[in-house]
């Protein structure tokens, strides 16, 4: 089943085009990798999916993004859309709330007031994000004072607390040590049973380890979409893809 369908997407900032001519489908329970150097349009793509373009008056999105068979540009309840999509940023954002409140925030925004329910959600999400054992004795301390790697797992727990159908990770490992990165990657492998994942990364090997299919973005174009293994070993349509994954530029 197709979870997210993108056709002829174009994103512009003022006069400058950030991304154009992007079309692909993402299947449910797939880990879909997006690789490419800086300024390829990867982050802009994620912003278009959950309608964060609303907050950027310069950003213009044309073309079509269909999520769960609904055109996102026609959704009036964008809050409902964003709740179904969890986002993890390059730099971890532990909100200046307690660890507990960080994870309980989304359910609370959604009207959940019962302490018992929240307790369950918090423990479940922290456990799934591989953070529970490290913080279970100090849930009241500030989330923004955790170490970088812990904060990133806290961010993932917070995204999971939304009970998302789609999880979008934007270069999540940029500020995280290799050991934590591996732990998070294991978490993602588990999660794919329940959610669809878009993994934006500039670590080519990370895409290779995790993604079923991968798209290669370069200078605002989607150069190639294919099975991840094919990008590395099989036929590629565009020689630049092979050059990039083999580290000849970028």
């Amino acid at each position: 089943m197709v979870k997210l369908s993108v056709s002829d997407l174009q994103i512009r900032y003022g006069g400058a085009t950030a991304l154009e001519g992007v079309s692909f489908d993402i299947q449910e329970h797939e880990i879909f990798g997006i690789i490419g150097p800086a300024n390829a349009g990867k982050t802009s793509f994620l912003k278009a999916v959950n309608r964060m373009d609303m907050f950027d008056p310069d950003m213009r999105v044309d073309g079509k993004i269909v999520f769960n068979d609904v055109d996102v540009s026609k959704i009036r309840n964008v809050y409902g859309l964003r709740r179904r999509i969890g986002v993890v940023f390059p730099l971890p954002v532990g909100l200046p709330l307690s660890i507990y409140d960080n994870v309980a925030l989304s359910p609370r925004l959604n009207g959940q007031k019962k302490k018992a329910e929240l307790d369950i959600i918090v423990e479940r999400c922290l456990t799934r994000a591989a953070l529970w054992d490290e913080v279970k004795d100090r849930l009241d301390s500030l989330g923004s004072l955790l170490s970088g790697g812990q904060q990133q797992r806290l961010t993932i727990a917070r995204a999971l607390s939304q009970d998302p159908e789609l999880l979008m990770l934007d270069e999540f490992s940029i500020a995280v040590d290799p050991v934590t990165t591996m732990r998070i990657e294991d978490v993602l492998k588990e999660l794919r049973k329940e959610v669809t994942i878009i993994l934006v990364t500039n670590l080519v090997q990370q895409a290779r380890r995790l993604a079923d299919r991968t798209a290669f973005f370069l200078e605002g174009q989607c150069v190639e979409v294919g099975m991840t293994e094919d990008l590395f070993t099989g036929e590629v349509k565009d020689q630049r893809t092979r050059d990039y994954v083999e580290g000849r530029f970028g």
């Binding site: 008056p57 809050y79 859309l81 995204a159």
Partner: protein
């Protein structure tokens, strides 16, 4: 290799001269403060007593205490705060969190800066026209406080806006991405982290409001009243005006009395200021990111 040349020595002498010169200039700065405070304490302190603070003036104000003026100043400040704090905070939240950057917002910001630059005597005349005459409040605590409120509104707005904007954008974006509305984000993440800065601004406003004379002398503060005010539509005495009166308007005034009044007024302001500084230091220590 490390012997100093003629040029080195000249540079060093020059640097010493500048260090001493700039240091002296800085030292001169504290002179007025020291002089004012020491004069006030030297001449005013003997007047201060429980009697002085808690009884009314007698014998044509040449004797007795300052209680009606002290109470009046507190009343004026409290009513002014009740008006300006909610309005100022609401405006600052709108400007910082909602308004997009267009000509209208820029015009409002310009208006706020200009409002801060309006001389207090002009505010006073505006207060007479608007509150005393047009809204028919008469010369009253209400009219005087509203005049003070308008005068100090820019302070509240700017302090609030600054502390809201000190909350990192990433926190807001994280919330929005979760499906929070702007208001939910403000309520749960932005305001709790800005409240300390807002409080500091409010206290600074108090210290400024309590010393103002011009805006209240036409709108609600009285020369002398035999009775304490019974409500916000009565006139009141105030410390700042009382100080003006006892130093310039009353014959045969004992020399020390005005110093006593001034000492009480400045102590009130300094107390507020140090409270604000202490609060800021305490909260900076508790910074959450």
């Amino acid at each position: 290799m490390f012997e100093s040349t003629e040029l080195n020595r000249r540079n060093e002498t020059r640097q010493k001269l500048f260090r001493i010169g700039l240091g002296t200039m800085t030292g001169i700065l504290i002179l007025p403060v020291v002089l004012i405070m020491s004069t006030l304490i030297y001449k005013g302190a003997p007047v201060i007593s429980f009697e002085f603070l808690f009884t009314g003036p007698t014998k044509g104000m040449t004797a007795g205490g300052i209680f009606p003026a002290l109470l009046g100043t507190i009343l004026l400040v409290v009513v002014a705060l009740l008006a300006s704090v909610p309005l100022g905070i609401a405006a600052a939240i709108y400007l910082s969190e909602y308004a997009s950057d267009n000509w209208f917002t820029r015009a409002i910001n310009l208006a706020i800066i200009n409002l801060a630059g309006v001389p207090s005597i002009v505010h006073a005349l505006f207060g007479v026209g608007a509150f005393v005459i047009f809204f028919k409040f008469g010369t009253s605590i209400l009219a005087a406080s509203l005049t003070l409120a308008i005068m100090t509104l820019p302070v509240v707005i700017v302090a609030t806006r600054e502390s809201l904007q000190a909350v990192p954008m990433a926190f807001r974006e994280a919330c929005w991405n979760m499906g929070a509305t702007r208001w939910q984000t403000i309520r749960r993440v932005v305001l709790p982290n800005a409240v300390t800065g807002i409080l500091t601004g409010v206290i600074l406003e108090v210290s400024r409001t309590s010393g103002e004379t011009a805006p209240i002398m036409f709108t609600g503060a009285a020369f002398f009243l035999p009775l304490l005010p019974q409500g916000v539509l009565d006139q009141t005495m105030a410390l700042s005006l009382h100080l003006f009166v006892v130093s310039t308007q009353v014959p045969n005034m004992p020399e020390q009395l005005p110093f006593g009044v001034a000492l009480v007024l400045i102590s009130m302001v300094l107390l507020m200021n140090s409270l604000s500084i202490a609060l800021r230091m305490y909260l900076r220590g508790k910074k959450k990111w």
